[in-house]
Symmetry: C2
Subunit: 324 residues, 2 copies
């Protein structure tokens, strides 16, 4: 009833056995007389005993808790993948401990530090780069996976950004667009942002065209293009919003493509053409990789997986208006 939770010795004394025996009963790790077993189980029940995972982990020198570093739960993309990761961890018999970085300039270091003090069994980076040398040193020796972001220093599961961007760009050139822009976003991890831009630039170049870089929705460069590929859905949606407010018709005057396929992209009123990331697969595969590292089923070289992505064509893209 009060703060103090019952311990294994209380169970033992109620059952009239030693705590070793209680431990053995709980873990099924030794042959136990049926009558003893029943008495112990009964005491556990009467006391509402629940093993102290802290003590167990301290003794076993391993925990079943995963640290998850997430960029910004506010962004629906992170919220969605965060939910999926949590679920995948639970299915693998692991517990997820989240640490929301970037919000208010909290650095990855502080988050990793905290997770490490809790002696997490492994850490997952969610579309978030933890590549500073310091963080890497801190993490040395503990299993790590990067989900949704390509890393060269550990396991990762991430789509091929360049390929996805090429898909988007080819869709636009295929529609006949000749003046295409790329809208960057500070909300996207810098390397990812660059990879997406370069992927689009390559595809556009193959069509003999150039890619304009657009720094924000207020960038005058926006006026010179008939189509924009955006760093992510959030940027694309804010571009749609901006276009609406300025009487720019989408897709009549301007075609818009996003990246991610967050759930609201599919709403009729948004109807955003976008490059879809298989979030469920990213989460499941990433956590499974991490679990295998944690359980020692896997060792050696980093594994890099790249699930397939696809283009979802909706109402925000169309051929360019015939110029007057």
């Amino acid at each position: 009833m009060t703060g103090r939770a019952p311990t294994i010795v209380e169970v033992a004394s109620l059952a009239g056995v030693s705590k070793s025996t209680v431990s053995n009963v709980i873990r099924g790790s030794a042959p136990i007389a049926e009558s003893t077993r029943r008495r112990v189980l009964d005491s556990i029940d009467r006391l509402g005993y629940r093993p102290n995972a802290l003590a167990r982990q301290l003794r076993e020198q391993r925990s079943r808790v995963l640290g998850v570093l997430i960029g910004d739960l506010d962004n629906p993309y992170y919220g969605e993948i965060g939910a999926l990761v949590e679920r995948a961890a639970f299915h693998s018999g692991l517990t997820a401990m989240f640490c929301n970085i970037e919000a208010e300039g909290m650095r990855a270091e502080a988050g990793v530090q905290m997770l490490l003090e809790q002696r997490v069994a492994g850490v997952a980076f969610l579309a978030f780069s933890g590549r500073s040398p310091r963080v890497r040193t801190m993490l040395a020796g503990i299993p790590t996976v990067s989900i949704g972001l390509r890393e060269d220093w550990g396991d990762c599961v991430a789509v091929d950004d360049a390929r996805g961007s090429a898909l988007a760009a080819e869709h636009l050139t295929g529609l006949g667009h000749r003046r295409i822009g790329y809208l960057t976003s500070a909300g996207v991890e810098p390397r990812t942002d660059r990879a997406r831009r370069e992927g689009a630039r390559g595809a556009v170049a193959r069509a003999g065209l150039e890619l304009a870089t657009i720094r924000s929705v207020d960038d005058p460069a926006l006026r010179d293009v008939t189509a924009v590929f955006c760093a992510n859905d959030l940027a694309a949606i804010s571009l749609l919003d901006h276009a609406d407010r300025h009487g720019i018709d989408v897709p009549g005057d301007l075609s818009v493509v996003g990246f991610d396929d967050v759930s609201i992209a599919g709403l009729g009123r948004i109807s955003l053409t976008t490059v879809a990331q298989p979030l469920g697969e990213l989460a499941r595969t990433g956590i499974e990789l991490l679990r295998r590292r944690v359980d020692g089923e896997l060792d050696g070289e980093p594994i890099r997986l790249a699930p397939e992505l696809s283009l979802v064509v909706r109402g925000s893209t169309a051929p360019p208006a015939v110029s007057a």
Copy 2:
């Protein structure tokens, strides 16, 4: 470099002191000779020593980890409040451990069990009811707060649903609507759903009108109303989507009001009139309450706080069309 993290005794032997002294240096809990202090700090640095929070918590019999039970991270409302709660906890020197319930029918019990085994210092329910008798028994003696949902058995910080609904309903009657419906949603906690419906019913009754209950967007009852107040923004947004697909003009043919004010409600293309919950305040106040319980600064009767809410009028509501 390998899995084994350095311990306090390794630091001690490198510095040539006892582990008691190392502990005292770390916690600043005793007068230490400056030279000793420096040697210890130096060893800590060289070894990259980080105290084991598990051991500390086991010894201190208290942890700084908060368990957070969250309904469904998929829903933007939960994602947003989850992020805010995480941030508030961090500011209070606490760590948040999330547990995403409801997804795939995982019961609150399993989540609470896991959290309790980790010996969390307290648990927060996020817009999620943990009221089953079993769960309450399990939680006996540990600090608890319910955020975003009114509970009668513990601390809670939640808006007054009935009052918010009245605001919404009065807005609609004020615009001249006479046939008003309430759209229920399975995505909303049942008691909350009921409170919102009853709140709207009361306000509508004061205007001498009746409130129709609409079970889904396909419910024929929808055809008989000129305005709908929805259980939450998600339901409202799906209603907008449904209206768009069926040529029902919003707000021309139908006015729509939501509840929550999730961030996408403010997008130009959604422009949803809605009852705004002060999410930041809910999160901050709730976590602060919990922290004070955890730190023993507060005891006695449950505290129930109800932050103010407000109606945000946007483009989804207008006077009813004059009937032909």
